[in-house]
């Protein structure tokens, strides 16, 4: 009888990568939005 091997248990690496992408994007996005709002207040048309 052929036994099918179970996939390796390595979900921790995936979760780490997904969290890293989310944190980097959110931190950079918030930084940009705050910079933009500050400049919009400072530079009036």
């Amino acid at each position: 009888m052929l036994l099918q091997a179970e996939p390796p248990q390595n979900a921790g690496f995936m979760l780490a990568a997904y969290m890293l992408v989310a944190v980097v994007l959110v931190v950079y996005a918030v930084t940009l939005v705050l910079r933009a709002r500050k400049l919009v207040r400072e530079v009036q048309p």
Partner: protein, 250 residues
């Protein structure tokens, strides 16, 4: 007149100060909408990739890093392509908006490349047994990251806006020229890095469910890139306007 002085004489914002500020604000507003849409869609993409996309039999859950790693790489390379095109057009046309868009795209591309260079090792460790290999795809991507950090540093170190734009345009074009080399490097050299699964002559070789999740990720990261770059471009224009008013005020 030299070509350099010709460029200096013609390089300018074609718009008035008021419309320039209005255009910058419009860019920031559009960017914020796109970014919000992109981040919400990215959260949904995470759920789809983790819960509703099959687990690859030999690599396990770590293979799902593919659904953020490849879209990040795609959007980073798109960003650098746009840096190259805007830089070349700036040298030709002398429109300062092109220089500012290249700067915005380079900064966003550098952040995206950082994501590629950190998610890659998180995938490599469980599959290859090592965090990093000094092979051509990884090393040339790292080199491109350093080149773009240099591009951004160069911009901060030159005071004159036209000098800054000219020098950084040359670096931006050189950086963009690395992108096709990085893509083709897996064919040109023996490497541990997998070959492309979509952009190849015989077409995509991936099960439909995995391919659709990957393409969804690519579309979402493109929207996130557009959102970030529009906000950063608006910041660049407002910053220039602020400096111009400061200089005019004496």
């Amino acid at each position: 007149m030299t070509s350099s002085s010709s460029l200096s004489a013609s390089s300018s914002f074609p718009q008035s100060s008021t419309s320039s500020v209005a255009a910058a604000r419009k860019s920031i507003r559009a960017g914020q909408v796109l970014l919000l849409l992109g981040l919400v869609a990215l959260a949904a993409h995470y759920v789809r990739a983790i819960e509703f996309t099959p687990v690859e039999a030999t690599q396990g859950m770590a293979q799902k890093i593919f659904y953020v790693h490849v879209p990040s790489a795609w959007s980073a390379f798109l960003a650098y392509g746009i840096v190259g095109v805007c830089s070349a057009l700036f040298l030709w046309l002398g429109d300062r908006r092109l220089d500012l868009f290249a700067e915005a795209s380079a900064e966003v591309g550098t952040v995206l490349t950082f994501m590629v260079l950190t998610t890659g090792p998180l995938w490599g460790k469980p599959i290859w047994g090592t965090w990093w290999q000094w092979e051509v795809r990884l090393t040339s991507t790292l080199f491109l990251f350093f080149l773009m950090v240099g591009y951004l540093t160069l911009r901060r170190s030159i005071y004159d806006p036209l000098e800054r734009a000219r020098y950084s345009a040359v670096v931006g074009i050189l950086g963009a020229m690395l992108v096709p080399f990085i893509h083709l490097s897996v064919y040109m050299f023996r490497t541990i890095h997998p070959k492309p699964v979509i952009l190849k002559p015989e077409g995509p070789t991936l099960p439909g469910s995995m391919l659709s999740t990957l393409l969804e990720g690519v579309a979402i990261m493109t929207v996130v890139y557009l959102g970030l770059v529009l906000i950063r471009y608006g910041i660049g224009r407002l910053q220039e306007e602020k400096e111009a008013r400061h200089a005019a005020a004496g």
